[in-house]
């Protein structure tokens, strides 16, 4: 299926591995990505609070560029911030004709125009799980991630409630599409209460204590869950948890070692693509020890590790998860 593809700035730099791995899995999964021509920054998280009209014009320029190609009906963004901004801009332009008019006046200066609703903005995870489907992906898995304990981490941006009556593609409080996808890859999905919690965004630059505390909670919780690594779908989350894990350890006087990979890298590994072609190795917290587990028997648990409690005869049943 053909999709417009909006990489966004981070996928050119710090999240290059996300771009490389997305491209690597696109073909085997039958996703035909056409990169938007001459795209620009989406404004990320802050610009909207500085200048509303300018920021929407900036975002809408990308929508207009993408909509030039009339064979494209859907625009895919792998970055959560880009996804949120593109989606928000499209729906706000639909809701407010006044905004749409101002934005289009700005776009006209560059000979562009965008009519709200022309494109359907999707996140890469949404496309993989809902268009391709977990079953179809599972059928293509050649090297299941057997024995790998993975934390599904969504971050706070892709779960924001739907805009313009378009429902969010997943539960906004406890999403589970990534859980399903990882399970389809054969991984052991670690129950993770903080799956939609904030990674700190740019707080490391504004208030170190706040930013590091938010990172610490996530890394601690993943470690408490005996995870081998965290799977993420957002460049901001990956940057915070990976690049700032060391500084966080120093600041909080902790000693965590929790690798953070993009979910597309794990999809690629399961499809049998070699690690190098997926950009693995560019992460700062070394993922190789964790990845060594894949395809081989899981090593015995080290002494002293908390054992999974045995089910006692007196224990009460857990509630069924489907409604009665």
């Amino acid at each position: 299926m053909k999709y417009g593809y909006f990489p966004g700035c981070s996928l050119e730099r710090n999240a290059a591995a996300y771009h490389i791995s997305s491209m690597a899995v696109a073909k085997p999964l039958g996703m035909d990505f056409v990169e938007v021509e001459d795209w620009n920054c989406c404004g990320a998280t802050e610009y909207v609070s500085l200048n509303l009209i300018a920021s929407y014009a900036l975002i809408a320029r990308n929508l207009a560029q993408a909509a030039k190609d009339s064979t494209i009906a859907q625009l895919v963004a792998p970055c959560s911030a880009c996804y949120l901004n593109l989606r928000k801009c499209d729906s706000y332009m639909a809701k407010s004709p006044a905004l749409a008019e101002k934005v289009n006046t700005a776009l006209a200066a560059g000979g562009l125009a965008y009519k709200a609703g022309t494109l359907r903005v999707r996140h890469l995870l949404d496309v993989m799980v809902n268009d391709i489907g977990c079953e179809a992906i599972a059928a293509k898995v050649t090297k299941p991630l057997k024995g790998l304990r993975v934390v599904p981490y969504y971050g706070c941006m892709i779960v924001r409630p739907g805009y313009s009556g378009q429902a969010s593609f997943d539960n906004v409080e406890q999403p589970d599409t990534l859980d399903k996808l990882l399970a389809a890859l054969g991984a052991e999905v670690v129950p993770f209460s903080l799956k939609a919690a904030c990674c700190g965004g740019h707080m490391t630059q504004i208030s170190e204590a706040t930013g590091f505390e938010l990172i610490r909670r996530l890394v601690k919780s993943a470690t408490d869950g005996r995870a081998d690594l965290i799977a993420t779908l957002c460049p901001m989350c990956q940057l915070n948890l990976d690049a700032f894990q060391g500084p966080m350890n120093r600041f909080c006087k902790t000693d965590y070692h929790m690798p953070v990979l993009y979910f597309t890298q794990l999809v690629g590994l399961a499809l049998g693509i070699d690690a190098k072609s997926l950009g693995i190795g560019s992460e700062l917290v070394d993922a190789r020890p964790a990845l060594a587990k894949i395809g081989v028997e899981a090593p015995p648990e080290p002494e002293g590790a908390p054992k999974k409690p045995k089910r006692d005869d007196k224990s009460l049943p857990m509630p069924r998860m489907s409604a009665v």
Partner: protein, 667 residues
């Protein structure tokens, strides 16, 4: 129109409700000049005895033979004035009401415009009433048998009241035993008396009453007929136990090898066998075999129950049976469902082991429950040292239900007391507002405050197991904004109880349709009048009681059960009942027998006469809605009291008056 039409017009002040806006004296004076008006007057309160006597006197002494009262909505006082006419010997259908309050004085402050509209409405009524015909009401006999649907405390109460008065009751219950939700509870607020101790005697009485035929494990399939004459089809599902042989010894369930989680009576917190009675005091005592989980039915081997049964009561061949009963009145007491707490994933029910729902907690504290009444964590052994109780789960929340579930505050306070009594644990109540508005309820609240329970005012954001530090390790953490101190709090506890709200039964709309009554947007059954007729419905002969009409505690439910029974008994006592005469009638000379009307009738009040090939309206069923009149292709159906000429006359009266005002303004 009869010769010598003499209309009496009466304009009501309704205190200042109407007279404060409408110039009533002017309207009365003006109406005197309308065609056929013999007398026109205004009066302070037409609904008072003196006001009604005014009408009666004019009919008797001044030859008034048509009456128009301009006052409030016909919903309120049409019967009052119709009765006044009847007392004076005038057919009540020669009366017409103009609503100059709800549709005029209450909706504008503009006195001149309001007076104009009052004139138009009065003129419309005067014009219409001249064309009205005397109609005679139909009387139908009442079958004294009564159907009660739902065997919870409300249905039991209703059934006992009716049965004690000497009338036959069919009591239908979907589950294997009577008892409903109340049978699951341990203690009842605010007195903390034992729920089973006060309920089981009633269950026993209902189960053994000579006038009550108990039909458990049964459901109503079909309802036909109308008030006084319902025909009801009931499906009695196969128990696979011959009730005539079974002595309720319980050996079958003791020996049955198949253990399954009991999602209904134990709320998923305990187990039962494939053949079971839900609880020891079940009425009737006969067990039910759950086919879906039975080894014999699923795998073809086992039959242990049959082998051990001392009376040979197990019958794997038993079929469902359909029975048809005739009743005159129906009481629905179908109860509620608990809000499904899985719908709020951030509260962790189903995900975090030590998050429980209120119903699970009820079973846990019940001495006959899965833990023998011990308050323990999901591991079944550890006593909690701290417990948080979260209020308004699914209630007062625009994402789920806007309404207040009415019972959860008191229930949560009761839980706090029970936790304290059984474990000595610290209890935190996370509430939005505490609502305790009934006899001895607030006193109970004060008592719980004095027991040292912590009250945290704020809506809980999330319940999590993600510990931030060693003090939270292994705990279930409640994140809540304490709005009284203006701070976010994280309260690490061992156990969380979600006070889930009440919601309408999942199949309430379907059931409502079956019995011809409607549901609110939240799927609660709608009563005839929220204040003055709380247990009747818009369908005569069908009553609602208890939580199926809206969230209710036990005292209110029992009161409604008894109230519904009293309403039914008063109808039975009349022996026959008057049916509104404004019904549709088919002109058989022009009816072509196309049956379009039959399909259109929402009350299934039209039958097809096969011999004549004509449609025929069953007057006792017809509600006079007029749908068939609009549907009939050959214009063969007429609605009495709403005939074309009456409606046209009404419109002409209104429009001519409005037109006359325009002319004046132009001049």
């Amino acid at each position: 129109m009869i010769e010598n039409t003499r209309v009496g017009v009466y304009i009501c002040h309704c205190g200042s409700n109407i007279a404060g806006v409408v110039d009533v004296a002017e309207v009365a004076k003006w109406a005197a000049g309308l065609p056929h008006v013999a007398t026109s007057q205004d009066y302070k309160f037409m609904c008072s005895s003196l006001g009604q006597e005014l009408i009666e006197k004019d009919i008797k002494e001044h030859g008034v033979n048509r009456v128009v009262v301009a006052s409030c909505s016909p919903h309120l006082h049409e019967p009052t004035f119709r009765n006044a006419c009847a007392r004076a010997g005038l057919n009540p259908y020669l009366f017409e009401m103009a609503n100059i309050r709800e549709q005029d004085s209450w909706v504008t402050a503009d006195k001149a415009e309001a007076t104009k509209k009052a004139k138009a409405l009065v003129a419309a009524a005067v014009s219409r009433v001249a064309h009205q015909e005397a109609l005679n009401s139909l009387f139908v006999p009442i079958d004294p048998n009564v159907l009660v649907v739902g065997g919870g405390v409300t249905g039991i109460q209703a059934a006992l009241e009716v049965a004690n008065s000497g009338h036959k009751v069919y009591l239908v219950e979907r589950e294997p035993s009577l008892g409903g939700h109340m049978a699951q509870f341990d203690k009842t607020f605010p007195t903390l008396d034992c729920s089973a101790c006060i309920l089981t005697p009633k269950m026993f009485d209902a189960g053994n009453h000579k006038n009550i035929q108990l039909l458990t494990w049964s459901e109503v399939e079909k309802v036909d007929g109308y008030i006084g004459n319902f025909t009801v089809t009931i499906r009695k599902r196969a128990r696979y136990v011959d009730e005539s042989k079974c002595n309720g010894c319980g050996v079958c369930q003791e020996k049955c090898p198949k253990k399954v989680v009991d999602e209904v009576f134990e709320a998923g917190l305990g187990y039962r066998k494939a053949i079971y009675t839900p609880f020891p005091q079940a009425v009737p005592k006969f067990p039910v075999l759950d086919r879906e989980n039975c080894n014999f039915f699923q795998k073809g081997i086992c039959k242990v129950c049959q082998k051990v049964c001392p009376t040979g009561a197990i019958d794997y061949e038993q079929p469902d049976t359909l029975m048809t009963v005739k009743v005159g009145n129906i009481i629905l007491a179908t109860g509620y469902d608990l809000f499904d707490a899985r719908r709020i994933p951030q509260y962790g029910f189903g995900r975090l082991p030590n998050v429980f729902t209120s119903l699970e907690f009820e079973r846990m504290t019940n001495a006959a429950g899965p833990t023998g009444g011990k308050v323990v964590l999901r591991d079944g052994v550890t006593q909690p040292k701290s417990v948080a109780i979260i209020h308004c789960v699914g209630s007062r929340d625009r994402n789920y239900h806007n309404y207040c579930s009415a019972i959860c505050c008191m229930q949560s306070l009761k839980f706090a007391h029970l936790v304290g009594e059984k474990t000595g644990a610290d209890v935190y109540q996370c509430y939005i507002d505490i609502r305790t508005p009934a006899k001895a309820y607030d006193e109970f609240y004060q008592r719980i405050i004095n027991e040292g329970v912590h009250f945290v005012r704020g809506k809980v954001a999330e319940v999590t197991d993600a510990a931030r530090g060693p003090e939270e390790a292994g705990k279930t953490i409640v994140q809540v904004e304490d709005t009284l101190i203006g701070k976010q709090r994280r309260i690490p506890v061992d156990m969380v109880v979600l006070s889930a709200g009440l919601q309408a039964r999942a199949d309430a709309k379907e059931v409502g349709k079956k019995f011809g009554i409607s549901c609110s947007a939240d799927a609660w059954f709608i009563e005839k009048h929220p204040k003055l007729d709380p247990v009747a419905t818009m369908t005569d002969g069908v009553f609602v009681a208890g939580a199926c009409q809206g969230p209710k505690d036990i005292p209110a439910s029992v009161a409604q059960g008894a109230a519904a029974a009293a309403r039914v008994l008063s109808i039975i006592g009349q022996g026959q009942i008057e049916i509104e005469a404004a019904t549709a009638i088919v002109d058989e000379t022009s009816c072509v027998g196309c049956k379009e009307c039959i399909a259109s009738c929402p009350y299934t009040a039209i039958e097809f006469l096969e011999d004549l090939q004509k449609a025929h309206v069953i007057e006792a069923l017809c509600k006079g809605c007029g749908t068939c009149v609009g549907t009939c292709l050959s214009k063969s159906i007429r609605l009495r009291h709403f005939t074309d000429e009456q409606l046209v006359a009404e419109m002409i009266g209104a429009m001519q008056t409005m037109k006359s005002f325009e002319t004046v303004e132009v001049q």
